[in-house]
């Protein structure tokens, strides 16, 4: 009902957002189906895990009934989804703690690291992109472009170690690893932001150059619009649209735990939690991290899509004229 009212009273933006939200459901269903298949394919029988290796056949049968392992695969899938919705990701094999509780404990740390990296990456990436585009085909442009290709080719777990070696072990400016205040945050945030700076530089440059060549820029220039106004209103606004996507994607991938960076710097977030799970083959932990990470990733992409529609009036017009 509310949906209908929304559709009637709301403008084109609301329709667009609603459509995006509705499209999420098949996507989430697909994602849970894949993780469900992965869980089913994992080595080891969960029933045996619960009952112990030497349980009598009657006990095993009883547990099998209780958790619904004797039901059809479709029913099992629905049971699985309802467990996830209730935040029931199972317990760790080793600590016997609920995976969901651990995830929510570690999430704030991951969030902190993600924001810190964006805080470095966005200004730096935009600046390099602008410098590159406004000095097109000069030495600055070439150097920045080569640096950005190089940034994309560095393995983060290695650049992290090198940064740690230089800034922490040699110069002793920052603590090498651990979780704590701002000082602990700097090195992992720099490491994580390097590839993001590289992508942002590239996208900003390409996008600016594309807008420079647009006929409406020529028109605006012919009208005699002052340089500063031309660039602020006509160029920036239009060229920043693809940049939003990249920032969103980066943020999304930080949120599911920068597995490698967090491990290197001992940052107690979801990424390190995943790594510990992998090391100990703690399947409930690994699956919990994958499910939670993917759902967060998809949600952030949804938010980016919505922001997009505010940034790009073409979407609004398109939706209106349908």
């Amino acid at each position: 009902m509310t949906v209908l009212i929304c559709l009637k009273t709301g403008g084109p933006i609301k329709t667009y957002i609603l459509k995006k939200i509705i499209l999420m459901f098949p996507l989430l269903a697909g994602i849970t189906f894949i993780t469900f298949t992965l869980t089913k394919a994992l080595p080891g029988d969960p029933v045996l895990g619960m009952a112990g290796e030497r349980a009598s056949p009657e006990v095993i049968e009883k547990i099998r009934k209780e958790i619904g392992a004797d039901r059809g695969i479709i029913k099992q899938y629905f049971g699985y989804v309802s467990l996830i919705i209730r935040g029931e990701f199972g317990r760790s094999y080793y600590t016997n703690r609920k995976v969901f509780e651990d995830l929510s404990l570690k999430f704030p740390n991951t969030l902190k690291l993600a924001f810190a990296s964006l805080f470095i990456a966005v200004p730096a990436g935009l600046l390099c992109g602008f410098l590159s585009a406004y000095n097109r085909d000069t030495a600055t442009d070439r150097i920045l472009s080569s640096l950005s290709v190089a940034g994309l080719s560095l393995p983060v777990f290695w650049s992290g170690l090198i940064i740690m070696l230089l800034l922490s072990l040699q110069l002793k400016i920052f603590p090498p690893s651990g979780t704590g205040d701002m000082r602990f945050l700097v090195l992992p945030a720099i490491t994580l932001s390097l590839p993001a700076i590289a992508t942002l530089t590239r996208i900003t440059r390409t996008s600016l150059l594309e807008v420079f060549d647009m006929p409406y820029i020529t028109t605006a220039r012919a009208k005699g619009i002052p340089w500063i106004k031309l660039h602020l209103i006509h160029v920036f606004k239009n060229s920043l649209i693809p940049v939003i996507t990249v920032i969103g994607l980066d943020f999304g991938s930080y949120m599911n735990g920068a597995v490698l960076t967090e491990t290197i710097f001992g940052w107690d977030g979801i990424g390190r939690f995943t790594m510990e799970g992998i090391m100990k083959r703690d399947y409930p932990v690994i699956m919990g991290c994958i499910i939670a990470g993917t759902i967060i990733f998809v949600m952030i992409n949804l938010v980016v899509d919505i922001l997009y529609c505010y940034a790009d009036p073409r979407i609004r017009v398109y939706e209106k004229n349908r």
Partner: protein
């Protein structure tokens, strides 16, 4: 092709040859433990030094290159093969099949790539095949999407219409007329993707999901030596430089190929 692209290709050929003939060049057995020469810094005997078990790092880096390069190349070929077939079929058939297949592609692409690769590789026993499979099972999707887009455009071309009018069968149109047209695009895509695959391979072996010790891979070498970073930094530096240089060359080559053939790979 741009000059930088040629240089990158040259470096890659050089690296591949070095890795291929590693046993002849390196002079040391990569897995031979020598407790008399533990953590020796780079010098005359060992060009890149030795690790915590006295193994020659130069030899291990070269042998690691064999594994890393072949995993990335094979994974890229599998991804391209699957992506090419799926994309061709999906684009040509259209309709509901197309919608369904592209839904599947979107699904795979909506996963954070490394997490999905981790998910797949924990199912299988760790090893080089596991890494190939997990890279390819994520990688095919982007190939399929690009190829399908290309097929949608090609489908409207006059030569396809002519082939249909001449009574060509569906497989003939798909494989004789459409497939060759998609090969250049697939190769450019492969060039662009290889750098990323090198990094994914390194990450998975860093996480211990790749080839198991004592086999040398670049990622695993960094992983096992990172505790020695204060006392023997060269153990970490050499394999990392190899990963970075290889990925860099593939990325430069991919960009050069893309510019050369004027192909847009976004969207």
């Amino acid at each position: 092709m741009k000059k930088t692209g040629k240089y990158a290709l040259g470096v890659l050929v050089f690296l591949s040859l070095f890795s291929l003939f590693a046993p002849l060049i390196s002079g040391y057995d990569p897995d031979a433990i020598n407790l008399d020469s533990i953590k020796e810094p780079p010098g005359f005997d060992h060009i890149l030094g030795t690790d915590n078990k006295g193994r020659d790092i130069f030899s291990r880096v070269l042998h690691g290159g064999r594994i890393s390069l072949s995993i990335a190349l094979i994974a890229a070929c599998i991804s391209m093969g699957i992506g090419l077939l799926v994309g061709l079929y999906s684009g040509y058939v259209g309709g509901r099949t197309d919608t369904f297949i592209m839904g599947l592609v979107d699904l795979v692409l909506s996963f954070p790539a490394l997490l999905l690769a981790i998910g797949i590789s924990i199912l299988l026993p760790p090893g080089i095949y596991t890494v190939m499979i997990s890279i390819a099972s994520v990688g095919w999707a982007s190939f399929a999407r690009i190829i399908r887009g290309n097929v949608l455009i090609l489908k409207e071309a006059a030569f396809i219409e002519a082939a249909m009018a001449a009574g060509c069968s569906k497989p003939r149109i798909l494989f004789v007329h459409l497939l060759p047209q998609c090969i250049p695009l697939s190769l450019v895509m492969m060039g662009l993707k290889l750098g990323g695959y090198i990094l994914t391979e390194a990450s998975l072996s860093f996480l211990g999901l790749g080839a198991q010790p004592p086999v040398a891979t670049w990622g695993a070498m960094i992983s096992s030596s990172r505790v020695y970073i204060t006392s023997a930094a060269w153990m970490v530096i050499a394999p990392g430089i190899m990963i970075a240089v290889t990925a860099l060359c593939f990325n430069i080559l991919g960009d050069a190929l893309r510019d050369r053939y004027g192909i847009r790979t976004e969207n």
